[in-house]
């Protein structure tokens, strides 16, 4: 389809370039993208970039402040925690954990959301009712409460955090895919495809799905930030990743008692969460403006 369009209008820029141009209009979104890329690179190359290991304990250097504070040490740029672990290294490795959780939750929710949403839209009837009722049920339970319930059943761990957060956020994708698929199904091109004998699976995934992608991509970007926040909250409650995994929320909770004596140990992980989530969110806003002109705000 895309090649046909460019053949008719050779002067029109390619869809990617066009997308980039409208995305780049929003300066905030570009800044968000840059920050996200930096955090992603730090996460990927954590083993090379981080000055120390995330779990090595320097027992002679516990609770050091960052270098710019009195008593800081150049070996530990952002200081150390109560066990003498390098804060900077733990933060960098923590980026890996948080992004991993965010991306895993997003990919699994999209996969499940696309399948269930398309099935609900195409089959209708009982299948539709059952799927949507289950999603309504999940939405009726407050997100963190449901995640707590899931973790209570499965036990606290990094993997189960991913499962819990995925269950919590899946209904959004299912609803979104179902709604956009339903609005596409009645259109002429789908009828045409049906008439020429396109099978149901191909109809769902090849004919209709590509036209539902724009809102899905936007939701995916915003879903990553929500997943990161939710996972950090679980970590903070002691129900997420377990020590010594350098998960940002758990790092906060572990060092909570030092809030008076060593405020930095508590401040930094939260700041890392905030920066990451803000960056992903403003990037997501830019994506929405670029991909979905109908939703453009103001």
């Amino acid at each position: 389809m895309a090649t046909d369009a460019t053949a008719v209008e050779p002067k029109r820029p390619g869809p990617l370039l066009e997308f980039w141009q409208s995305f780049a209009e929003n300066r905030g979104a570009v800044v968000g993208l840059v920050v996200v890329v930096i955090i992603a690179l730090l996460a990927i190359f954590a083993d090379i970039v981080a000055p120390h290991s995330a779990i090595e304990q320097f027992r002679d250097f516990t609770k050091l402040p960052p270098v710019w504070e009195e008593g800081g040490n150049w070996h530990f740029l952002l200081g150390t925690d109560a066990l003498g672990r390098d804060a900077l290294s733990r933060l960098i490795h923590g980026a890996r954990i948080s992004l991993f959780i965010g991306l895993m939750v997003m990919s699994v929710s999209i996969a499940v959301g696309v399948v269930l949403g398309l099935v609900a839209a195409f089959l209708g009837g009982i299948a539709d009712i059952i799927i949507m009722r289950v999603m309504d049920l999940i939405i009726a339970i407050p997100s963190l409460v449901l995640a707590i319930l899931v973790v209570a059943v499965l036990g606290p761990s990094l993997e189960n955090t991913i499962v819990a957060v995925t269950i919590v956020y899946m209904p959004r994708y299912v609803r979104l895919v179902r709604a956009s698929a339903l609005s596409e199904i009645g259109k002429d091109y789908v009828t045409a495809a049906r008439v020429i004998g396109v099978g149901p699976i191909r109809l769902m995934f090849v004919t209709v799905l590509p036209n539902c992608l724009a809102p899905l991509i936007v939701q995916a970007a915003l879903g990553v930030s929500d997943a990161i926040l939710e996972a950090a909250a679980l970590g903070f409650l002691g129900l997420g990743a377990q020590p010594p995994i350098p998960e940002w929320g758990a790092m906060l909770a572990d060092n909570r008692e030092f809030i008076r004596s060593n405020p930095w140990i508590v401040t930094l992980p939260g700041l890392a969460i905030l920066i990451t989530v803000v960056a992903v969110n403003i990037m997501g806003d830019g994506l929405r403006d670029a991909l979905d002109p109908k939703l453009k705000r103001g």
């Binding site: 309504d136 963190l144 926040l229 909250a233 809030i259 989530v277 969110n281």
Partner: protein
């Protein structure tokens, strides 16, 4: 209207049934035996163990247990907490006013600041105020509130010593009965000097922490809804008639722009309850959020099960109420869509 109400009500029944099934299955799957946990590590006489299991109904078949559970629920019995040996429902409703007081204050805080901020941003669209409001709103929306709470305690309570660190009131200075469960009202009823102020001081930080995300959401929705309304014909007419900008914005535009804002407030009850779990944990606020976390840590299945049931029922009811209210305002929703 009645037909619409009944239809919406009927739709919640399968959701409610599914909810009972989910909480029931989930709690059965929890690893760790509640009886053994309660006995600690010292071991227990097998006869006594069997007796305890029988008392808790744990020796029956799963189906039988589920049926018992449904019958119990139908009688308004949400189980008995293993920790305290009191009914989960009574425990829940004793603690609920604390959460409700906090949630109401947080919502009030969010509306009182969020709506004017959104209106200003929309009126001064593209200007520094707009950018400022939208920037702060993104930060608020992205805030890990457990960290935000700790940060505020660190600054406001520890460094500047302006507010207390935790709890709802100073228990040494003030003591009075929980008549309503709302500390502000109880303090006022008690007539003790300074009690209301003390209760209010305890409320400030938790209110800000819990209200941050709703505040950001409300500011955003108000702004975009206001922008839409400002370009409507009737606003142009009002302007053309020579009405003062204050009247045009405050009276004609805002009234219509508030409809989506009001809906979003109703839909945020879930967000508030989820946030309450974190806020109450940080500030040792004796509400249902903190109670839920304590229940999970002590493997108090019945409390967890009943608590989640009650919270979810509450959210379902509020959403139903918002829906019906919305249907009452907007007849198009009632018929068809």
């Amino acid at each position: 209207m009645l037909k619409y109400l009944l239809r919406r009500l009927a739709l919640t029944i399968p959701t409610f049934l599914a909810l009972t099934l989910v909480t029931f299955i989930a709690i059965r799957m929890v690893p760790g035996d509640p009886v053994e946990v309660r006995q600690g590590e010292h071991g227990i006489d097998p006869i006594r163990l069997a007796k305890l299991r029988h008392e808790l109904g744990l020796d029956q078949s799963i189906l039988h247990q589920y049926w018992d559970y449904l019958v119990q629920l139908a009688h308004g019995d949400f189980g008995t907490s293993i920790r305290t040996q009191t009914s989960v429902a009574s425990e829940f409703f004793t603690l609920f006013p604390a959460t409700m007081e906090l949630a109401l204050c947080a919502m009030l805080f969010a509306v009182v600041i969020g709506v004017p901020a959104g209106v200003f941003a929309a009126v001064k669209r593209g200007g520094p105020i707009d950018h400022g409001v939208m920037g702060i709103s993104v930060i608020g929306y992205s805030m890990p509130i457990f960290w935000w709470g700790l940060l505020l305690i660190m600054l406001v309570s520890e460094r500047w010593e302006l507010t207390p660190i935790s709890g709802r009131i100073d228990p040494i200075k003030y003591y009075f009965d929980a008549t309503t469960g709302f500390m502000l009202i109880d303090a006022w009823l008690s007539g003790q000097e300074g009690a209301v102020i003390d209760a209010a001081q305890h409320l400030i930080l938790p209110t800000i922490v819990l209200g941050t995300i709703p505040l950001a959401v409300i500011a955003r929705i108000t702004r975009s809804s206001m922008l839409e309304v400002l370009s409507e014909d009737y606003v142009r007419t009002a302007r053309a008639k020579g009405l003062s900008p204050f009247r045009v914005i405050g009276l004609h535009a805002l009234r219509n722009a508030l409809i989506p804002v009001v809906t979003s407030i109703g839909l945020q009850i879930g967000t508030l309850l989820a946030g309450a779990v974190l806020t109450e944990t940080i500030f040792s606020w004796p509400g249902i959020g903190k109670w839920l976390i304590e229940s999970i840590n002590q493997r108090d299945y019945p409390a967890l099960q009943g608590g989640i049931m009650l919270i979810s029922c509450l959210v379902i009811m509020v959403n139903l109420f918002v829906d019906v209210l919305y249907g009452a305002i907007n007849p198009r929703l009632r018929h068809g869509h």
